[in-house]
């Protein structure tokens, strides 16, 4: 007996030593966890150069004859960059009422004039949002040692908004003026020394409007479109451009052509395209999409500024630059049919400030017409009721419709009354064939097919309005920032496709290929999946009610 007592004692001690070792190892691991994961690179804090997203249009007009000394292109860019940065710094200070950073961009004598404004904004509890949209610089003087430069900034369009503390708009104004400016190179920075505001005198517009009226040709083509909204099956929405794969695009476009469509609507992600400085690689990818479309003789409607919900004035120049780059690059591309400037802009009326969205829309339409006067432009409204806004500005009115097919007729009629003879396009419609096992959602594929046929029926009656179906594929995964994080919203988005996730053609696909076919409806199919679950829960509740005092006693025992 004594022997095994000793044996137990040894085991006990060894056990404790092991325990202690494990615990110390564990504690060591915790400390290691706490001290790993930091990224060494962000130990070095280097002040950033010009913020990449503030990119107004800068044109150098031809210089005066005798500017003292000829100016080199590299210095021209540096001076323009520092001039834009100086104005941006003042605009930022007016917005935030904080004067830091002014010291770098204004000479000693000029700083009090900016500080006076900042103190006024700070004391009056308001914030002034201001942005210069374009600069046309005409060089007058450039000193021999390259330290002084005098130029005039002609016909500057600057927009202002005044808001109170809670962000309510008090006033907004657009004004044009010339600025005689003198800048001095000091401590490695070009600083504004003098500015005199002069009455604006206009400058000739470089982009000549299209006289051959090719737009009518595109409007005609629009009438006969049979379109599909397109995202690849595995990389929809935000993953499309980042993980772009030209082979999948070629395969999908061939499939779309086979299904009998002749137009595709795609979406350009504003942020991923680099906001103001458009990323060259992204332009190459968009060009590849257009070329694949021409190869399969499909035409494309390109929707811009996707996922951009920043309507502050400081973001206007960036949207302007991306619009200009994309439109001027692709306006002569054969596959391009039309531009959709903003997907469902009326949704932003809820989340953003209504006037700001409207101001941005007016601004961007005027610019779009200037950059590409050939292709028709529109905005895809989320609800037909809002589709009349700025209708006369657009070349055709496009709207989305997901409600019951029966109510589509009257919606079109009321819209037609408001926009009279403007051509209409239904740029998004569709029904999801989502049959959830848990939540009370149950649309069958047959309902989807019937919905498609009914919508086509109504469109034909209303003077065969062209339509673009949402969307080609059932997606494998949908991220939560598209339609909401709740599971039934996310899963619903997965089943709008014509082609199922496994690649098989769904019922709606057959209807599209040969529309006259009658849709067979099977009984069990309409029986909702979620009903089994609800039955089981019900049974469980009943059982719980009968056995209730047995459960109480069980609870007592545990807690005692």
């Amino acid at each position: 007996m004594i022997k095994d007592r000793k044996f137990f004692k040894v085991i006990f001690f060894l056990g404790i030593i092991l325990l202690l070792a494990v615990v110390t190892g564990g504690v060591g691991k915790v400390l290691v966890f706490l001290s790993k994961g930091g990224n060494r690179a962000d130990l070095l804090n280097i002040p950033p150069e010009l913020p990449s997203e503030y990119t107004p249009k800068v044109i150098w007009l031809n210089d005066d004859t005798d500017t003292g000394r000829p100016m080199e292109s590299s210095n021209r860019n540096i001076i323009a960059k520092d001039y834009v940065r100086a104005l941006y710094q003042r605009n930022l200070s007016l917005l935030t009422a904080k004067p830091d950073g002014i010291k770098e961009y204004y000479t000693l004598a000029a700083r009090p004039k900016i500080f006076a404004q900042i103190n006024l904004v700070a004391s009056s509890e308001t914030s002034i949002e201001r942005a210069e949209i374009n600069h046309n610089l005409k060089l007058h003087f450039y000193s021999a040692d390259g330290q002084l430069v005098s130029f005039t900034d002609r016909f500057v369009e600057s927009r202002e908004r005044v808001k109170n503390k809670e962000g309510r708009l008090l006033a907004s104004k657009v004004e044009y003026a010339d600025f005689n400016t003198l800048m001095q190179l000091d401590d490695g920075y070009w600083r504004i020394k003098h500015v005199v505001r002069m009455p604006p005198n206009t400058i000739p517009d470089t982009l000549i409007a299209d006289s051959t009226n090719r737009k009518a040709f595109f409007l005609e083509k629009l009438k006969s479109i049979k379109g599909i909204n397109y995202y690849p099956r595995d990389t929809p929405w935000k993953d499309f451009w980042i993980t772009y794969n030209s082979v999948t695009t070629q395969k999908d476009f061939k499939l779309i052509k086979k299904l009998g469509f002749n137009t595709i609507r795609i979406f350009v992600n504003f942020e991923q395209f680099g906001k103001g400085n458009v990323v060259p690689e992204m332009i190459q990818r968009l060009e590849n999409v257009l070329n694949t479309a021409t190869a399969n003789n499909l035409s494309l409607i390109v929707t811009l500024f996707d996922f951009n919900s920043n309507y502050s004035l400081l973001n206007f120049p960036a949207t302007d630059r991306q619009l200009e780059t994309l439109l001027t690059t692709f306006k002569n591309h054969p596959a391009l049919l039309a531009w959709d400037l903003k997907n469902e802009a009326d949704l932003d009326f809820f989340y953003q400030n209504r006037e700001e969205v409207k101001e941005w829309l007016k601004f961007i339409i005027k610019k779009a017409k200037k950059y590409d006067s050939i292709h028709p432009i529109t905005v895809g409204w989320a609800y037909p009721e809002n589709a009349d806004y700025l209708a006369d500005e657009f070349d055709f009115v496009s709207f989305h419709y997901y409600k019951e097919a029966t109510k589509l007729g009257e919606a079109i009629d009321s819209l037609r009354k408001k926009v009279n003879n403007k051509p209409l396009v239904l740029s998004e419609f569709g029904l999801s064939s989502y049959r959830s096992k848990v939540f009370p959602y149950n649309q069958t594929e047959t309902q989807q097919a019937e919905y498609f046929r009914d919508i086509q029926e109504v469109l034909k009656q209303k003077g065969n309005i062209p339509s673009i179906y949402w969307t080609l594929y059932d997606f494998t995964s949908v991220s939560s920032d598209i339609a909401g994080w709740r599971p039934w919203q996310r899963n619903n988005q997965k089943y709008f496709g014509i082609i199922g996730a496994d690649g098989s053609l769904k019922k709606i696909g057959n209807i599209i290929i040969h529309p006259e076919q009658i849709i067979k409806k099977s009984f069990i199919e309409s029986f909702p999946h979620y009903s089994f679950l609800y039955i089981i829960i019900f049974l469980f509740l009943v059982a719980a009610f009968i056995k209730r005092n047995f459960i109480f006693s069980l609870f007592n025992k545990i807690l005692k």
Partner: protein, 1043 residues
């Protein structure tokens, strides 16, 4: 409540106050870390609620270190100033520690013995080392809070009175906010055993009820058995049952711990992403103590000190049944304390934890656990039963001999530790920071960043007194004992600057200073002069305290808006309030409440803690014999080692004498070096010393011996030939020298032959030379406003003659040539920017050594620029343990560059214009070019650097290379050189620069006109393969006669 404390505690407190109070005033500025804590305190004194501090590492968050000690010093600094405040806080911490040790010892021994333990705490070698050598006051504060909290936890677990839980938690909260790691590990090694003890005691107490009379909470079960009539057995099962009964207290305490941890929530919130806390410091405590005896001494022998002698007694007391838990943690701590000697700690802790945690803290905790038992040993030895037993057994005088021997050993060890830094200095000698502070505050010098070289840890004291920012910081100081280390290069350890992971290496700071806005370097160590000079820095002033100020011209001032990693507002306020709140809470609960309870006569808070008393175990002769043997063996080992050290003289064997000679030269102990020469043939010391002192050059005065391999070949038993290959680390290059020495035995001792010196005598006795000296007024009217426009001197005009971008396997290099066409000497910065085909800038870098940074009017110089990225940014590349002159982090070109732009800037240069040095008898010898460098001027060239430019057929620079000569060249003397003629094999031109790629002072190269050089330049030596080479000399003058 406060028990009638033993008188000995009061003695201990006063001894501690006097002893530590006086000594810490003198030793704290020699320690490793006290200045770091003072710097943090200064931060809190300047901005309490804003944790962002710009002064180190281009800005970092002070939430990377628990704040209590720093905030208290900050508060004290408002009254006493930073230094005095810090010392006062340290003294209070030591007092708290003594009280803590006393109350902790009362858990294990009788109050009287606990009194002895309190006195002993003032002389515990590990505490003295932590205070006087490391200056780690937060660790002491953490451990004292832990020790004070343990008796409270014991009483809470045993008696379950809620008040005890409150006191325990409040003290631990203070512990967490001053040093969280102590508290976290304290859980495992201190709190758990004390909880185990409390449960065991409450189990034993049950026995008390049964046998009433002479109940004793005996320390060993057999004792209890003897007293009690009934056989008492405490099995493990009883123990577990008892723990189950106590589960309410244990669970409540367990749940409260995370809340206590939340007092430093921002530390945990932030340290996950803050790279500063994650730099792995090469630390002595992880070496194996056999290979690196100095770390062994520093992190094992010194902290344990007297415990080593009394180890058998401690183990006998600790491994009893009652103290089994603390016994286990003591053994485990000792095991971990041995660091790398055995693989077990690495296995247990896991690879990463082993590399991140410094292991000396485990030995420190082991020595803390040993305090009660050593106190008890001294009590029993001086007035307890040991005394009678020994007097009886071995007589009175031997007894006196024993205890005086032990106490004497203890005291000498203490004296040795405190004065360790005087024997072997840990830090460079103290630097008077006043002149530097004045320099930084004058003329807006604090609008740029500065860098200190050779300051060691005093850099933190300099930062604490100024607002201007430093590029590096002193967050971690690698605690090695430089002077004691065996490997010579270790001697560079603390003060030599190696660069910081994620920020850059020293070479990067000096080559592209404008990236860090770095303009001033304060150099306290001649070692760095060559790097600074050859990277383009110039000496402007030697301050009164001997520090040389170096400056780089043409650096833009810091922008007014600096990037900042902002913590949420709530976290900042939390960080400012919580630590002090914890302290106030602890103070109110423990002290004020005691007074209130006594006033109210609350019996609710009484518990039986004072009533039980612990009996000491009976003496066992076996213990004495064991201790006797152990002490005897230990002391003999120490004595033999000591004697062998004393007696062994270097002249015992040829290798030893040669190593001793190299060490002496490395340490510049010239008299001892002279002592090693063969007495027969050696010249007098004065003669040797004069000839040696004349020798200068990168090897003689700037190099540090890295390691030394000696091969002995016996000629006959009187003479040996020694082939010594030595690796030297110099600021710019690594050299391997081979020399043959002859060792001769002269009456029993080995000596080496004296090296011969250069006997050439210069032809002229007196040389005079016309010398260009320049002065620029700068701001002509003294005043605060910025320099007026007319006081600026124009930037000298340069002309870039040619430049091209070449590809060498995976890296890209820009080479070229430029001329100063102005009439004033120019200090130039050559920067190349590489662009890809979309005109996006990939990288920009400056020319480092491979050019001449100061050129005279009409002079042409070649240059070569290689591209680096910030050093050690990637996860796996480790910061090299020692200074690496060849440190180069290649920039990996993911996108191939297509074109480059060359930006050259010039400013008027005022000094370093020595040009009276040239190359002669240069000829081609096979694939090598040989020749001599001749100094025909009036200054001694400390380090001549050859700049070799290879030109292609149409006279454009093709490749440029440098070669540092090893020895200085005195006036009218010459040194030979041999250089490779080969151009790198995989050489491929990528882009030949045209005029509109070149910019001088921001203006295009084409706006400068200079007559073209049509004819083949004379100074291009034609080589066999029809290409030509030209060799220029860039002379660094160590100590110029005219500044």
């Amino acid at each position: 409540m406060l028990q009638k404390s033993d008188k000995l505690l009061l003695i201990a407190l006063s001894v501690g106050l006097v002893f530590h109070g006086t000594i810490f005033f003198f030793t704290f500025d020699e320690t490793y870390d006290s200045f770091v804590h003072i710097f943090f305190a200064d931060h809190y004194a300047r901005s309490w609620f804003e944790p962002w501090d710009n002064r180190w590492y281009t800005g970092f968050n002070v939430t990377s270190y628990p704040p209590l000690v720093h905030q208290l010093t900050a508060l004290l600094s408002f009254v006493f100033g930073l230094r005095i405040g810090f010392v006062l806080l340290a003294i209070c911490t030591v007092q708290l520690l003594i009280v803590g040790a006393y109350r902790f010892s009362k858990l294990w021994t009788t109050p009287r013995a606990a009194g002895y333990a309190a006195i002993f705490t003032c002389f515990v070698s590990s505490i003295i080392e932590t205070l006087h050598l490391f200056g780690q006051v937060p660790t002491l504060m953490g451990i004292s809070c832990l020790l004070n909290a343990l008796p409270e936890i014991y009483r809470w677990i045993r008696y379950g009175k809620h008040y005890r839980l409150a006191t325990a938690l409040s003290i631990m909260a203070v512990g967490v906010t001053s040093h969280h790691v102590t508290t976290i590990f304290g859980m495992v090694f201190f709190v758990a055993p004390v909880i185990g003890l409390a449960v065991l005691d409450s189990r034993i107490e049950k026995n008390k009820v049964e046998n009433q009379n002479n109940w004793g909470l005996s320390l060993s079960m057999r004792e209890v058995l003897k007293h009690g009539s009934l056989p008492l057995k405490i099995t493990i099962l009883d123990f577990l049952k008892e723990t189950w009964l106590k589960r309410k207290q244990i669970m409540l305490f367990g749940l409260a711990i995370p809340i206590v941890m939340m007092f430093v929530f921002p530390y945990f919130y932030w340290s996950k992403t803050d790279p500063i806390t994650q730099v792995s410091i090469p630390h002595g405590s992880r070496d194996s103590f056999i290979e690196v005896p100095s770390s062994g001494l520093m992190f094992f022998l010194i902290p344990l000190g007297i415990d080593l002698l009394l180890l058998p007694y401690i183990f006998s007391r600790v491994l009893t049944k009652r103290n089994i838990f603390i016994g286990l943690s003591f053994t485990l701590l000792l095991l971990f304390g041995t660091g790398g000697t055995t693989p077990i700690p690495k296995l247990m802790l896991g690879e990463d934890a082993f590399n991140i945690l410094t292991l000396d803290r485990f030995t420190f905790w082991a020595s803390i656990i040993a305090i009660p038992f050593i106190g008890e040993f001294f009590y029993r030895l001086i007035e307890g039963d040991f005394r009678d037993y020994l007097r009886l057994q071995i007589g009175i005088w031997p007894y006196h001999l024993i205890w005086s021997f032990i106490t004497l050993g203890c005291i000498t060890l203490v004296i040795f530790i405190i004065n360790l830094s005087t024997f072997r200095p840990l830090q460079p000698s103290t630097i008077d920071t006043k002149p530097i502070i004045q320099f930084l505050e004058r003329d807006q010098h604090d609008k740029w960043r500065f860098l200190t070289l050779g300051f060691g840890d005093q850099m933190a004291w300099l930062s604490a007194q100024t607002v201007s920012q430093s590029v590096d910081g002193n967050y971690h100081s690698a605690r090695r004992l430089p002077e004691m280390t065996t490997r010579p290069l270790e001697r560079l350890e603390n003060s030599k600057f190696k660069g910081i992971q994620g920020l850059g290496s020293l070479q990067q700071f000096l080559t592209i200073p404008e990236k860090y806005y770095l303009k001033f370097v304060f150099s306290n160590d001649k070692f760095y002069d060559p790097i600074l000079y050859f990277s383009g820095w110039e000496r402007i002033q030697r301050l009164e305290n001997g520090i040389m100020v170096w400056q780089k011209q043409d650096i833009p001032p810091l922008p007014s808006v600096l990037p900042e990693k902002n913590l949420p507002k709530f976290v900042k306020i939390y960080w400012g309030i919580m630590p002090l709140l914890a302290l106030l809470l602890a103070f109110s609960i423990n002290l004020l409440f005691v007074w209130y309870a006594r006033f109210q006569k609350k019996s609710k808070y009484e518990d039986g803690y004072e009533k039980d008393f612990l009996t000491l175990p009976t003496i066992k002769t076996r213990l004495f014999i064991l201790m006797g043997i152990w002490i005897f063996t230990l002391s003999t080992i120490i004595i033999t080692v000591f004697v062998r050290l004393l007696l062994s003289s270097p002249n015992d064997s040829p290798t030893k004498v040669l190593t001793a000679y190299y060490d002496a030269v490395d340490f510049k102990y010239f008299t001892t070096a002279h002592g090693y020469f063969n007495p027969k043939t050696r010249s007098s010391f004065e003669d040797y010393f004069i000839k040696l002192s004349v020798e200068d050059g990168i090897l003689a005065s700037y190099a540090k011996l890295d390691n030394l391999y000696i091969v002995e070949t016996k000629i006959d038993d009187e003479t040996y030939e020694l082939k010594a290959t030595a690796e030297w680390i110099t600021p710019v290059e690594q050299y391997i020298t081979e020399n043959i020495h002859k060792a001769v035995r002269y009456n029993g001792k080995w000596y080496i032959e004296q090296p011969k010196f250069d006997p050439t005598t210069p032809p002229d006795t007196f040389i005079d030379e016309a010398f260009l000296s320049i002065f620029g007024h700068g701001k002509r009217k003294a005043g605060v406003e910025p320099t007026a426009h007319e006081d600026f001197i124009d930037r000298p005009e340069l002309k870039i003659l040619s430049a091209r971008m070449i590809k060498l396997d995976s890296t890209y290099v820009v080479v070229g040539e430029l001329q100063n066409i102005d009439n004033q000497p120019a200090h130039i910065t050559i920067q190349a920017n590489l662009f890809d085909e979309y005109k996006r800038r990939l990288v920009s870098y400056n020319a480092k050594y491979v050019t001449i940074h100061r050129i005279m009017p009409k002079e042409t110089i070649p240059f070569r620029i290689e591209f680096e990225e910030t050093a050690w940014v990637k996860k796996d590349d480790l910061d090299p343990a020692k200074f690496n002159p060849k440190e180069f982090t290649k920039f990996d070109f993911k996108i191939p560059p297509k074109i480059f732009k060359l930006m050259v800037k010039a400013v008027v240069n005022k000094n370093d214009v020595y040009r009276s040095v040239g190359v002669q008898s240069v000829k081609e010898d096979g694939t090598k070019i040989v020749g001599d460098v001749l100094n025909y001027g009036t200054e001694e060239v400390s380090i001549p650097k050859l700049l070799i430019a290879f030109y292609d057929k149409n006279n454009k620079v093709k490749w440029v290379d440098t070669h540092f000569l090893r020895y200085s060249i005195r006036q009218q003397r010459m040194r030979g050189f041999v250089i490779e003629r080969s151009i790198p094999k995989n050489y491929k031109d990528v882009y030949i620069g045209t005029d509109d790629d070149f910019y001088v002072n921001g203006l295009p190269n084409s706006s400068f006109h200079v007559p073209a050089q049509t004819k083949m330049l004379e100074n291009h030596i034609l080589l066999k393969n029809l290409e030509s080479v030209s060799i220029r000399v860039d002379a660094f003058i160590g100590n110029p006669t005219i500044y």
